[in-house]
């Protein structure tokens, strides 16, 4: 008689026949049986069988389970046997996942990011830090839990096997993607971060500081990027307030300097407050005239005029200086302040370009110049993403009021890769645009997300307080490979994958809907999300979330077309027609879902970071190496023409533009420019203008931005630094750096180059010989 049984981990425990009976009973129940006596009889048969046949005195769990299957089948309990096998497979899959998770944890713990691809899944997390690793433990554990316990098995299978990819899967049960933050609404009357109350800001310095805090706080409530849809409009009141203060303070100084007052402040305050209108940067509003008349009661004309001239000159100068410093501080803050358990800086995006007020113009000019100057040592700042909104009649043509800023934006982008450019005249953006209502200007979040249309509430087709809830991408090349050139089969499979994604998005939305305001102390608690200010801390957020979007994305249109017709859309017009048909099909299905549910179902051109490698790896295992499809280590992003394909900038723009209209959940096109674009701004501008003319919604220009931290040279560096002549890793003599004027501070921690925008501008790269 069996006494012991050996478990998988090698431990021996007492053999208990009722455990076998219970397992058989569960399997029988799954196929409709309820006879425990029968289960017990079968279990005893199993025990007898093992006793008689097992070669060792202590059978393993596996051996006993094999015996159960054998007895069930041989005694005619086929359905129970099938249920038992399924149960056993599921258990071993879960066990295997547990083992895999521990293996992942082991690698996270003992490997550095250079060795471990998971640690580099997201390039903005430093996987080598304590908090970065802790974040990965949480993330990997959550993914396994969500897959095992939350997803419907057929959806889990599609996700696991790479038919679809559920983005931000670690956050599946926790939160939503992103928000377009309305700073003006947030600042009105002040706000709380959950750790203390902040008063309504009173000058541009505080406006910019609080903008950063708002972005940081909201980032802790969401997994996606944080966007300010109209940064220019949001900061302008801060400049206005600063100017009033500077006007008053300099009037006070002038009153003292010109001998009218001992202590000028109270008198200046009284004078400014009595003015018929408040003076602002672009318009005195009758203030000077009024003050002059009051001064003339006490002094002569010359003195009165001098006092006013002094006041105006220094009020303007100091306001400009304060605004530049505020913007410089903002750029520094957004590159240093941490969120997400300290492992990342917030993913911040600032949209601007259309506010033509003098205050907003000063904000934009200062922000652009601070970005051009770079960080402390002249480095290119990684955040925020700048999005310059291009609009005819506002900034597109030379006669437009903000044309100078459009030009400046291009100059800065040619050096620093930002701003990107969004185009409000593209028909699908223009349809929402209402002059004088900045919240109707299309904005972009992070890398490309766009939320403006609103099926749930058509009276509020605005950007403020709204964002994406979640998105899931379809592996297009897989569908094409499966179809083996059969178009009908391709579209049938595509349709079924779209259905699957819709089902999954809805399931995730049901989980998101059950969350309460208190789960999002900033996003919902401070009224950042649209209409959340009407809810109490214990209210569920499901209804207000309906202003957000549920989105299907796609990867690898190019490889999909290669698999279908042998050419991608950059190579053949036929392929382009099919490409457009595919994406149109996705869009039409999402439109129908929107109509039927009254929710915002949209299509996004997926930004694929970890995913681009994963899909192709899985497909190569399945279908082998297929030229143009699975022969590279990545699938091409969304609808892009492949990065390796030689094509002119203009042709690429023409081909990609029609997809922008179809992808209402977000899109971007990139052009790679050769050489240093700061030396060829005409070419840069030609590309941006061509994007606009072709109906691109959002575009950006890539070019190499290299920097030598020793001499501070920023631009293109091949093997040799054009300024100091050193090769990567090589030393250069201090004397040479002195001669170049870039070696300034021998004793500081950061010797070498210290950023100075004026000096930087004047420098010319030194020839090597």
């Amino acid at each position: 008689m069996i006494q012991q049984i050996e478990k998988r981990d090698g431990r021996c425990v007492f053999f208990d026949v009722t455990k076998i009976a219970n397992a058989i009973y569960k399997a029988a129940e799954a196929s409709g049986g309820h006879d425990y006596q029968m289960s017990m009889r079968l279990a005893l048969d199993v025990a007898d069988y093992v006793d008689a046949n097992c070669p060792t005195s202590t059978p393993t769990v596996e051996y006993v389970q094999d015996a159960v299957e054998k007895i069930l089948v041989e005694s005619g309990h086929a359905r129970t046997a099938k249920a038992y096998i399924l149960y056993r497979n599921e258990r071993s899959r879960q066990r295997e996942m547990n083992t895999r998770l521990m293996k992942i944890y082991e690698d996270l713990t003992f490997q550095s990011a250079i060795e471990n691809d998971i640690k580099r899944e997201n390039a903005n997390i430093d996987g080598d830090t304590a908090m970065g690793t802790m974040l990965k433990y949480g993330s990997e554990g959550a993914k396994q839990f969500n897959e095992m316990f939350l997803l419907e098995p057929h959806i889990a299978k599609a996700h696991r096997e790479g038919d679809i990819h559920i983005h931000d899967f670690d956050f599946y049960t926790l939160t939503t993607t992103c928000t377009q933050i309305d700073l003006l609404k947030l600042f009105d009357g002040g706000f709380s971060t959950g750790h203390g109350f902040l008063r309504e800001p009173n000058d541009i310095m505080s406006y910019s500081a609080l903008a950063c805090i708002a972005i940081q706080s909201n980032q802790n409530d969401q997994h996606g990027g944080q966007s300010v849809p109209n940064f220019d409009y949001s900061m302008a009141p801060g400049v206005r307030k600063t100017y009033w203060h500077k006007y008053r303070d300099n009037l006070a100084k002038a009153l003292e300097v010109f001998g009218l007052e001992e202590e000028g402040l109270e008198a200046a305050k009284a004078l400014v407050e009595a003015c018929p209108g408040k003076p602002v940067l672009g318009d005195d509003n009758g203030a000077s005239e009024y003050i002059r008349s009051r001064l003339l009661e006490r002094t002569d004309e010359k003195t009165a005029d001098s006092i006013l001239a002094f006041t105006l000159k220094y009020a303007r100068r100091e306001t400009e200086r304060a605004t530049y410093q505020a913007m410089e501080a903002l750029v520094h803050n957004l590159n240093t302040m941490h969120s997400r358990a300290g492992a990342q800086i917030p993913f911040s995006s600032l949209n601007y370009g259309t506010d033509t007020s003098p205050e907003a113009r000063l904000v934009m000019k200062s922000l652009l110049l601070a970005t051009e100057a770079g960080l402390g040592n002249g480095e290119t700042s990684i955040f925020p993403i700048h999005i310059f909104k291009v609009k005819e009649g506002v900034n597109y043509n030379p006669e437009d009021p903000n044309y100078d800023l459009f030009r400046l934006a291009m100059r800065v982008s040619a050096k620093r890769l930002f701003p990107n450019f969004s185009f409000l005249d593209a028909p699908f953006n223009a349809q929402y645009y209402k002059p004088g209502r900045p919240e109707t200007e299309a904005a972009y979040m992070g890398c490309r997300t766009r939320v403006i249309g609103n099926v749930y509430d058509p009276t509020r087709e605005i950007v403020n307080g709204r964002g994406n809830l979640s998105f899931t991408s379809i592996n297009l090349p897989r569908i094409a490979l499966k179809a083996e050139g059969d178009m009908e089969a391709f579209f049938a499979e595509l349709d079924s994958k779209i259905e699957l994604v819709i089902e999954q998005l809805k399931a995730r939305f049901r989980i998101q809907s059950q969350k309460r305001v208190r789960n999002y102390p900033f996003l919902m608690g401070q009224g950042v999300w649209i209409d959340s200010d009407k809810l109490s801390p214990d209210d569920k957020v499901g209804e207000v979330l309906k202003h957000g979007s549920l989105t299907v994305g796609f990867i690898g249109l190019a490889e999909c077309l290669k698999a279908l017709v042998g050419k991608h859309h950059g190579e053949s017009e036929q392929a382009q027609r099919i490409g457009l048909t595919i994406i149109t099909r996705m869009r039409e299905r999402m439109n129908r879902e929107s109509r039927e549910t009254g929710m915002n179902f949209t299509v996004i051109a997926t930004p694929a970071e970890g995913l681009s490698g994963r899909f192709v790896r899985l497909d190569r295992e399945r279908y082998g190496v297929i030229p143009g499809v699975t022969d590279r280590d990545y699938y091409t992003n969304s609808f892009h023409v492949p990065v390796y394909y030689p094509i002119s900038a203009f042709k690429k723009i023409q081909i990609e533009a029609p997809y922008h209209e179809l992808t209402n959940g977000g899109h971007i096109s990139y052009i790679e420019l050769d050489g240093d674009p700061t030396q060829n701004l005409d070419a840069f501008e030609a590309v941006v203008r061509y994007m606009k003319e072709c109906g691109i919604g959002y575009g950006s220009i890539n070019h190499p931005v290299d920097r030598d931290p020793i001499c501070g040279y920023t631009g293109i560096i091949g093997d040799v630094c054009p300024r100091c002549g050193r090769r990567e890793g090589e030393a250069v003599s201090i004397e040479k750096l002195r001669q170049l004027g870039v070696y300034k501070n021998h004793n500081s921690d950061t010797i070498g180059y210290h950023g100075d925008p004026n000096e930087e501008r004047d420098r010319r790269p030194n020839p090597l010989r």
Binding site: A113, R120, A123, N124, E379, T380, I382, F383, I385, G446, P607, E609, S612, G613, R614, V616, R632, D633, Y634, V643, Y644, P646, S648, A649, F650, K651, K652, I668, Y670, I671, E672, L673, D674, A683, E685, A686, R689, E693, S700, N702, P704, V705, D706, R707, P709, I710, I717, R726, E728, G729, E730, A731, V732, S733, I734, E735, Y743, D749, T750, G752
Partner: protein, 74 residues
């Protein structure tokens, strides 16, 4: 020790800096700038390596006119 601050001497006795210090190469990856290629995952490293430049002035036939129009309207 800060590498930027690390002084070495060459065979002529000249003071040198920069030994072991690489160049920074900022690239855009799925919309975000990254300060060093080290943090790119393997697939994205491959993608970055494959990128080709898009010619602006020698566009394929048929685009030259469009291009001129654009440039001159500026």
């Amino acid at each position: 020790m800060n590498q930027l601050n690390h002084i070495t001497y060459n065979e002529n006795g000249e003071a040198m800096v920069g030994e072991g210090v690489g160049f920074e190469r900022i690239r855009r990856i799925t919309g975000y700038l990254v300060g060093t290629l080290d943090r790119f995952n393997n697939a994205k490293r491959a993608e970055e390596r494959d990128r080709v430049k898009h010619d602006v002035y020698h566009s394929v036939a048929g685009n030259a006119d469009a291009h001129d129009d654009i440039r001159h309207s500026a």
